[in-house]
């Protein structure tokens, strides 16, 4: 499947909607490479550079979001950090820490701060900056770590505090996904009228069942639909093109549907009782397997409404 690029920048701000005070805006060309969310998480907030090998930290609890972003052709960590730092300060946050490489404590700093792993976030021990800030009234804190390596820039963002809806400064979320397949209303009506929707924005590694990091607008729409209709059930159905044997293709397609199911449960809290995952292999094509474009279209995961009332 095609790897869907997720664009930050303006899109995140435009789609944030009136309910949010502000959404942190990333420069154009920024691509989210990974995200982890914990509704009830904790994070060791760095309060200063390492002293005698130890970074002073304070453990904070709340909804935790960690995101890794990659930016093309960046050589300067300050150019990465400055626009983000500016937005955070403008939102009324108080800086706790603002340091660079050895000023942060070098290796000791890396070991003290929890970061999403490489290759989603590459940290260069010899060239990085860190910035932490909090808004005490809201019990909200942000930690930015920026680095660059092999011609690309990397930004790591950790946000801890109240749930996103109540945040003074929220991070780019599901709405930042590029080219959502349809508006939520269209999604609901298509699912109910036609009985199925192709989750066209999902991306998988070639030959792998692992779902890309997302976020995916189609899964957000599906999660919202299932939350609004707790009595309804759906099946996620994986499909492949006709390259290779039937049995491995059925297995692969079922595993891909299973990855989508797990993502709905872990990311959106959708109850398992509303979900099933199945695989059809190449037995239900939507296009010819004779052309690359047709095979691409055939590699997909659909959601079908299985409830009869």
């Amino acid at each position: 499947m095609r790897r869907a690029a997720r664009l930050g920048g303006l899109l995140a701000v435009l789609l944030a909607g009136p309910a949010l005070a502000q959404t942190l805006s990333f420069p154009e060309g920024a691509v989210m490479t990974a995200e982890r969310q914990e509704p009830e998480g904790s994070y060791a907030l760095p309060l200063g550079p390492a002293e005698a090998g130890v970074v002073p930290t304070r453990r904070v609890e709340g909804a935790l979001t960690m995101q890794a972003w990659r930016l093309p052709e960046t050589e300067d960590t300050l150019a990465l950090l400055a626009p983000l730092r500016e937005q955070i300060l403008a939102a009324g946050f108080t800086p706790l820490l603002d340091c660079e490489t050895s000023g942060c404590g070098g290796f000791d700093f890396r070991l003290a701060v929890e970061l999403l792993p490489a290759p989603d976030f590459w940290f260069d021990l010899g060239d990085f900056r860190a910035f932490a800030a909090e808004k005490e009234a809201e019990e909200e804190a942000l930690v930015l770590v920026v680095s660059h390596t092999a011609g690309a820039g990397y930004v790591h963002l950790a946000r801890i505090g109240p749930a996103s809806e109540e945040a003074a400064l929220s991070v780019p979320a599901e709405a930042a996904a590029a080219a959502p397949p349809a508006s939520p209303a269209d999604f609901d009506s298509e699912l109910e009228a036609r009985g199925r929707v192709i989750l066209a924005d999902l991306s998988f590694e070639t030959g792998s069942a692992q779902l890309g990091p997302g976020p995916y607008a189609s899964l957000q729409a599906l999660a919202r639909y299932l939350a609004a209709h707790p009595g309804r059930q759906v099946a996620l159905v994986g499909h492949t093109d006709s390259e290779g044997g039937l049995e491995p293709n059925i297995t692969l397609s079922r595993r891909r549907a299973g990855s989508v199911l797990e993502r709905l449960v872990s990311r959106y809290g959708t109850p398992r009782s509303q979900l099933a995952a199945e695989g059809m292999g190449y037995l239900a094509p939507v296009a010819s397997n004779l052309t690359p474009g047709g095979r691409e279209a055939n590699r997909r995961v659909e959601v079908i409404l299985t409830s009869t009332e």
């Binding site: 290796f107 000791d108 792993p117 490489a118 021990l125 092999a150 069942a209 297995t251 595993r255």
Partner: protein, 237 residues
Amino acid sequence: MKGAAPPAAEQIYAAIDATWPPAAMARLGGWTIREGRGGGSRVSAATWEGPGPAEESLAGAEDAMRALGQTPLVMVRAGQEALDRALEASGWRVKDPVVTYAGPASALPAPGLEVAEAWPPGPEARAVWAEGGIGPERIAVMDRAAGPKVALGMGGGVAYVALHDGLAMLHALEVLASARRRGLGRALMGAAGAWAARQGAGQLVLLVTRANAGANALYAGLGMAQTGGYHYRELAP
């Protein structure tokens, strides 16, 4: 679906880091530094990704590894002759040349014996591994792999297989000394191939030290091809 073409060296290196992951990886200029936490050479060795000559930043990489409490160790990959010479000149000595093998997953012979598939590994599998020197630090390495993975086990033999980007990679194949010469290794390889094929992987890949004659004979005898290799260089304390 991935075809039957043997994987490129870069694919194998990526699969090593994904299926046998270090506790953490970081860059230091052109170096990738790995934090192994006692998980062995594969998760602790630094690699040179370039560009340019490695010598200038070698001291920094050494310091970074020492800061992690690790003995400075570099994995020298195929084609890195200049790096190899630079390390040699600075007193780094060769350790454990490794050969990589690959073969179509579906071409391995059916196990013929019943092989259990499980994740996480059960107590019997852990006991066999422990006997062969694969302790909790290496089980922690397997735990870290994010993709599909499995522990294959049968009376006195065990192996771990994990998937990355269409490649299945086998690590930690261990047969108790008392259970050798009964075809367990061969059966485990067959089970690994069958598991990999069911996951949609085209190729099964593995790494073995050149000095391990028994294992090299097993893999060659199964029709797997040597696709390349690497060796380590260590700066003795």
